[in-house]
C-alpha cells in the first residue's frame, strides 16, 4: 500500500471522530513513513512495517474521548444493520413493547446504581475538602481570638487561641493531601472504566 492510500484509509475509518485528533494521528503516521523512506525503505515497505492497519485504527479509536467512541460505534452498528437489511422484525418490536413494564424499570435501576456509585465515589472526597476548608478558616478565628485576648491582657489565653488555630491549619493540610490523593485515585478508577468500556465497544 502507498502512503496516501494508507493515510486515506485511516482518515476514512475515523470519519466522525474529533477532527484535530484525527489529523494529529495522521501527521504522526505520515512522519513515521517519511522517516522510514528517508532511511532507505520503499514507501510500500515503510507502510507495511507499521503493522496491521485495522489494529492501528483500533488503537487510535481507543484513545478518542469515550463519548465519540460510543456515538460512532452506535452509528456504525446502525449502518451495518441497514446494509444487511437486518431491521427489527415485527415480533421483536412487539416483544419490546410488551416487555416495557419489565425492562424500563430494570434500566432505571441500572442507571440509578451507576449514579449512586458515582456519588459515593466523590462524596467522601468532597467531605475531606469541606472539613479541610473549615479547619483552615478556623486559623483566622484563632488569630482574632488570640489578638483580642492579648488586648484584654490575657497573653496566656491569646497564645492558646493562636496555637489552636495553627493546629487546625496543620490538620487541614493533612486533609487536603488526603483529598488530592483520593481525587487522583477516583480519576484513575473512572479512567480505567472508560478504557474498559471503549475496549469492549471496539472489540479490542
Amino acid at each position: 500500500m502507498r502512503k496516501n492510500e494508507f493515510l486515506n484509509e485511516i482518515r476514512g475509518a475515523l470519519r466522525g471522530y474529533p477532527r484535530n485528533e484525527v489529523e494529529n494521528s495522521i501527521e504522526f503516521y505520515s512522519e513515521m513513513i517519511e522517516d522510514r523512506v528517508e532511511n532507505g525503505m520503499s514507501e510500500e515497505q515503510a507502510v507495511a512495517s507499521l503493522g496491521n492497519i485495522d489494529m492501528i485504527i483500533k488503537n487510535i479509536k481507543l484513545d478518542m474521548p469515550l463519548k465519540s467512541v460510543i456515538r460512532e460505534t452506535a452509528k456504525e452498528r446502525k449502518e451495518e444493520r441497514i446494509r444487511e437489511n437486518k431491521q427489527m422484525s415485527a415480533g421483536t418490536i412487539i416483544l419490546l413493547i410488551l416487555g416495557a413494564p419489565l425492562w424500563i424499570p430494570l434500566l432505571i435501576v441500572a442507571m440509578s446504581l451507576f449514579l449512586v456509585f458515582f456519588i459515593l465515589l466523590w462524596v467522601f472526597d468532597i467531605v475531606l475538602f469541606v472539613v479541610g476548608i473549615a479547619l483552615a478558616a478556623s486559623l483566622a478565628g484563632g488569630v482574632i481570638g488570640g489578638v483580642m485576648s492579648f488586648i484584654a491582657g490575657n497573653p496566656g489565653t491569646g497564645i492558646a487561641w493562636i496555637g489552636a488555630g495553627i493546629a487546625a491549619l496543620g490538620l487541614a493540610i493533612f486533609l487536603f493531601i488526603a483529598g488530592v490523593g483520593m481525587a487522583k485515585a477516583n480519576l484513575g478508577i473512572l479512567g480505567s472504566m472508560a478504557r474498559g468500556t471503549k475496549r469492549r465497544m471496539l472489540g479490542a
Binding site: N24, F28, E31, D35, G51, N59, D63
Partner: protein
C-alpha cells in the same frame, strides 16, 4: 505481563529515551527497540498521554522540506522517572526477600 504495568513501564521508557536530548517518533522507536518491544501504534498514544500530562513538550522543526515533531522531556517528566525508580527499588527489595525465603526452604 500485566497490561497496566506494561503501559506504565513503556511511558517511563519513552521518557528515558528523551533524557539524552530531544527526539522524534521514529528515533524513539529505534532507540527503544533493542530494549523493549514497541510499535508505532503503541508509541502514538503514549506520546499523546505524556504530552497531555505535561511530562513532555513538543515543537515542530523543518526537516528535508517537511515538518517533524520533536519531543522534549519536562521537569515533571524527569520527576516521574525518579518516582518510578524509587518504586521499583522497593519492589526489588521485596523480590530479594521472597527469593531468599525460597532458597532457604
Amino acid at each position: 505481563m500485566d497490561v497496566q504495568l506494561k503501559r506504565g513501564m513503556l511511558d517511563i521508557c519513552v521518557l528515558a529515551s528523551l533524557l539524552q536530548g530531544d527526539s522524534y517518533g521514529y528515533m524513539i522507536i529505534k532507540d527503544l527497540s533493542p530494549h523493549v518491544e514497541i510499535s508505532e501504534s503503541t508509541l502514538y498514544p503514549i506520546l499523546r498521554r505524556l504530552e497531555e500530562m505535561r511530562a513532555v513538550e513538543t515543537y515542530s522543526m523543518e526537516h528535508n522540506g517537511r515538518l517533524r515533531k520533536y519531543y522534549a522531556i519536562t521537569p515533571l517528566g524527569q520527576r516521574r522517572i525518579r518516582v518510578f525508580l524509587d518504586e521499583w527499588k522497593s519492589m526489588m527489595d521485596i523480590y530479594a526477600y521472597i527469593e531468599g525465603e525460597m532458597k532457604v526452604r
